[in-house]
Symmetry: none
Subunit: 132 residues, 4 copies
């Protein structure tokens, strides 16, 4: 199972709706089950530096089948994966990357969100992933 | 003048409509006036290798304010810009990247399309750029 | 609004004047609103390794619309953006990158300074940004 | 002997004067005898893609102690250095990069110009190099 472009656009729309509710300006990226970019949208005025980060968060989540927050917890100083962020051309090891699952629970892709505080980014990413 | 997310989505939709008419599967990327990614969509089944190419085509068009086809014509063996493709981290020097202008003619971004023959890519990119 | 070459040269001159007052040797980079290099100057004898850092500091400030110092504070171990420096091809997460605003307060670019202590770099960058 | 920042600024000013006379919009880069960036200026409205190319032209000239045009002639299909453009992280193998010499004829740096036709780029680069 792989995410369709229709599903990816639903994820983007759900994320944007949450961002508007938060009054934040977000970059939203969706990757497929292969970790390849499927859809992307940058809200007007959103950080330019978050283009790269939103894509990286989505890829990071799919690369290890966990949220970028969970990977980040394992990558902190003193933790077992300390330093992992320099692998794979650079990982995002903070919140805002979430897996996307179909109704059966199968992972079909991931969404990455960047543009505000990590807490806001995470809430928007979860809203996106839950938008299917 | 910079492209808005609403305008970028219109460009993507116009490009997708043309691709469906052609019965091709396309990657479509939109960059803003600064050459930074604004929107992206990959149709189901479209080439994975065209993610990078579509983004590069859009950037190439904006970097030199001409279509990637026109730059490519200047970059062929024997032509004045032969070898330019290795600059800027790699340029796309074949058709499928087109400038996006507003009603007043100001360049507000560019669209890059990749997934089929260069002729089809160009037709879809032009349909996208004309979709505002 | 985007910085003009005349404004960028004023920023460089103001930064150089501050560096001479400090008796430091600086690399000074100015990027426009799109994060693209607009002007650069390296004082005689300034660190070669600071060419890259000064450009990166300016870009970092513009990519997240805050000084590289403020971003750095969020990127320390235990802070929410720990690890962000590996994104965007490498960010500078210490002081010396400052936003440039026009009279109305609109961000029109950023300046990055590198060549001495972080404190000196920051003072020169602020003098540059304030030189308009 | 290495180019000073004062000399580099003279080169930039001489190049800009020639560009204004041509009514072209140029990116102008100066590197020192070590091939490291010394000064850079982008005229308002000049191609974004020429930032990278102007720097690359200056470096290319200094890396091989000949103009980028002369290196380019050796790099064409059928010529002895065919393919050299992919070395050194990417070389510019068309005109617009010229060596800078002091009164005694010693190479003290190089200037790269990009933004118009190769012929115009070359004329501006030569005017810059001759501006000392």
């Amino acid at each position: 199972g792989d995410i369709t472009v229709e599903q990816a656009q639903k994820v983007v729309k759900a994320a944007e709706a949450k961002a508007r509710q938060q009054e934040t300006l977000m970059n939203i990226a969706v990757v497929d089950a292969g970790g390849n970019l499927k859809a992307f949208s940058r809200m007007d005025g959103a950080f330019l530096g978050s283009i790269d980060i939103s894509i990286r968060k989505a890829k990071t989540a799919r690369l290890f089948n966990m949220s970028s927050k969970d990977l980040g917890d394992l990558a902190k100083p003193g933790q077992p994966l300390y330093g992992i962020e320099v692998t794979n051309g650079g990982l995002a090891i903070f919140g805002g990357g979430e897996l996307i699952r179909d109704k059966a629970g199968t992972i079909i892709g991931a969404v990455g969100v960047s543009g505000s505080s990590v807490e806001n980014d995470m809430a928007v990413a979860k809203a996106g992933a839950g938008g299917l």
